[in-house]
Amino acid sequence: MPKQELDSEELFNLALSIVGLVLRDGPMQVKELSEHFGFSEKTIVKAVKTIANSEDIGRFETHFYVDEELLDEGEVDFSAGRSALSEPPVLSKRQTTSLAAGLDFLAALPQFSQNSALAQVRGIIGSGTEPITDLGLNEDQQRLEPLRSAILNKQQIVAQYVNQLGQKSSRAIDPLRIDFIGRRHYLRGWCHLKQELRSFRLDRIIDIEVTDQEITQQGRSASIPESVFGALAAELTVEITASSEASEIFWNFPSFDLKKEASGSTTGKIQVGNLQALGRHVSRYGGEVVVLAPESARQAVSEFARLAMTGYGGPGDED
């Protein structure tokens, strides 16, 4: 039975969700939206009309216009307005809090600490002048500074990089972007050695030299895919299950078919480039992550852990 009653804030949030979905996927039937969000068709229509009729939004030049004729026929479509907003829209408490938290994070970054525009926005939103987020200055932060400078100035770098097998190499890289995924920073850049766009874990870069050479044309024209993980040469699909505390393992691989179980654990499939790396990633969770299939992957993880146990008088020491 679809949920029926919404308070004004929930209705507003539903309206925004509908706008996002329709702008992304194109016009949709009211019936489809009802099934998608789990609300009655009447509630969907009411939420869509909120976009056009909301007293709050109506005070400003809304960016989304509802096609009311289509809506009468059971279809939802919007057009995006081109006029600039002259004043900020009214936000719910939750939206304001989310924005404040994001802006606070920005303010904690060294490169934004003195940014007057950011300070002004934080003032408008009602944040204090001092960030409540403290990012500290760890080794990653020390590597980030020269990288940021090189990216902004379009300068090549030479990095000493250690891959997950412990192999060290010197890489000339056109640095393009830094991503923060899960708990790790990744440098996205054009690798001169591999002649392709690669992702480099920042904690595996042991030395960075910023050169005075400009980045190459290949680097300039490279398109950075959204996923930090590129296509793997010989990838293997592995099915795993992870407890709620270990579910971050899915951040480390391209993953799909994720399903949250009633117990809180997550089951899904990941693509791995080599089984040795899988052993490392799985073993760190001390049994909270279990490889379900294939058998070769289960064995690889078991072998990795057995070998590691030799240092602690484990079964590997036995004859």
């Binding site: 987020t133 403290d134 073993s283 760190r284 969770y285 852990a305 030799t310």
Partner: protein
């Protein structure tokens, strides 16, 4: 709790918050339920109290010391700065989280001390073997 500050320490988000009369540190990854804001106004906490709590955490970390043996020319060796010998001394905030980080290095690292950390790693690895038997 009354949340005061979010800190990012050694790859971990830590919430500094007042619980009752005490200011405590909570690892965000250990907060596994949905967080619900409540209407009660938080009690004011002075800058001095926050600074003291932060200093206590720093003291706690500096007193938590582990001695490791790392295999030269491996990822672990590079990770710990390529030490002259094979031994490194590190400070840590949370033994369980350090154990996770060290288990990822597998046989490249062996914990010489403290014994509790070595035991924790051994138990974790045993469990990995057990669930993949």
């Amino acid at each position: 709790v009354s949340p005061l500050k979010l800190r990012f320490i050694e790859g971990q988000w830590v919430l500094l918050a007042k619980q009752g009369t005490q200011i405590k540190n909570f690892l965000l990854r250990r907060i596994i339920s949905k967080v619900t804001p409540i209407d009660n106004a938080s009690k004011p906490v002075s800058d001095e109290e926050v600074a003291l709590a932060e200093a206590e955490l720093a003291d706690f970390v500096s007193n938590n010391k582990a001695v490791l043996e790392v295999e030269p020319d491996t990822e672990a060796w590079w990770h710990f700065g390529g030490p002259e010998g094979s031994q490194v001394e590190i400070h840590f905030m949370d033994e369980a989280l350090l154990a996770e980080d060290l288990m990822e290095f597998g046989s490249e690292v062996r914990v010489l001390s403290p014994e509790s950390l070595a035991t924790r790693i051994r138990s974790g690895l045993e469990r990995v073997v057990q669930v993949h038997a």
